[in-house]
Symmetry: C2
Subunit: 243 residues, 2 copies
Amino acid sequence: MTEHIVRSFDTELQGLRRSISEMGGIAETMLSNATAALVQRNTALAQSVIGADSRLDALQHEIEERGILTIARRQPLAVDLREIISAIRISGDLERIGDLAKNIAKRVLAIGSELQPQKVVAGVQHISDLALVQLKDVLDAYAQNDVAAAIEVWKRDGDIDALHNSLFRELLTYMMEDPRNISFCTHLLFCTKNIERIGDHTTNIAETIHYLVTGEALTAERPKQDGLNAPAPEPPGAGLGPR
Amino acid sequence: MTEHIVRSFDTELQGLRRSISEMGGIAETMLSNATAALVQRNTALAQSVIGADSRLDALQHEIEERGILTIARRQPLAVDLREIISAIRISGDLERIGDLAKNIAKRVLAIGSELQPQKVVAGVQHISDLALVQLKDVLDAYAQNDVAAAIEVWKRDGDIDALHNSLFRELLTYMMEDPRNISFCTHLLFCTKNIERIGDHTTNIAETIHYLVTGEALTAERPKQDGLNAPAPEPPGAGLGPR
């Protein structure tokens, strides 16, 4: 293989990483803005989140296409093959993160001017902040091939799940206390669920980094609860509500 | 290329299709059983759904790995490359369908013996039946490379979305009428949402079949509503409930 071909293969791999980095930046901004739009009831900001999604979709298709053509053309082995497979997988997770952020933004438009208990909205902001730190950290870990940092992110996903469960119970309690909260809190239930799923996709990326760097799957059980929020909450004092 | 190599390439492609077919059968059974378990409160059946998921995951990994190795080894072009890419994509959608069915089964265990209005449960059975027909039809379309049948499935996804929206409003109404319904109906909200998302993955498969057969993406807008179930329901007569 001539040096020319080797160099141009490296250029292809670097191009994939640059596109992943662009996707990561867009996904971070979408999550951050979707939550800000929810907290501030900012419909213009929500619209901007919805508009940003098409670029993310286009980048994902491009990465998939370029990745597969590179595999077919170069027949890469070992770490080079993993590099391409990882880029395709990570682009899929980032595209899904964008979809979930877009869904939150659409709910901001749907919620409109309904009543909104500030305390639960603060809870959504909190879980979103956690998810955003995780996303930033996993993208940094990818940029630096830092498998230890990826494992840290992977371990911390349990924090998001625990907060999700507690928010979930809190939202159900609000719904039981006053039926006027039900419609709005249902939107917040789904927003919170979306953020928890963003956490899962971030964990997927951490697993992909592990595979990329070591060639092995991360086989331990995920440090997460099952995300069902199963137990029916007993609203403190209020019993079964107004009845 | 010798006849021997050509034949063995065909064997590889057929093997991918056989694995997709096995995945499709498992995913159909999981959805059907998860809904039956929900309707009948059958926790043993729910457990069997949860147990079936690992086979689906294993098949997906196998298809992805074999597909990528085949691309690297054979450098296929045009329809052969699309055949492999399609198998990888479809296996991803089927794996997600299994996850969503498993999530319904987990909710059956979580719901336990809570009160359960039979009318809304019948609604969930109905949307699940629709989603199951769509899934069967899209798997048949794949087996026969039938792009017209795939487009029919794609068009019908709007029916699932419409039914989902109406069920969603009905569930919110139940919650508003009696706070004792809230916890159980929240589980049903997520079950219904899961089934709507199974419909989306089925639509993805229809789009992949179109790409596989024609080499072109299905570019029209998806015939779906945005799935937000945005409008707050006005419970008939009941106003804002007991207050």
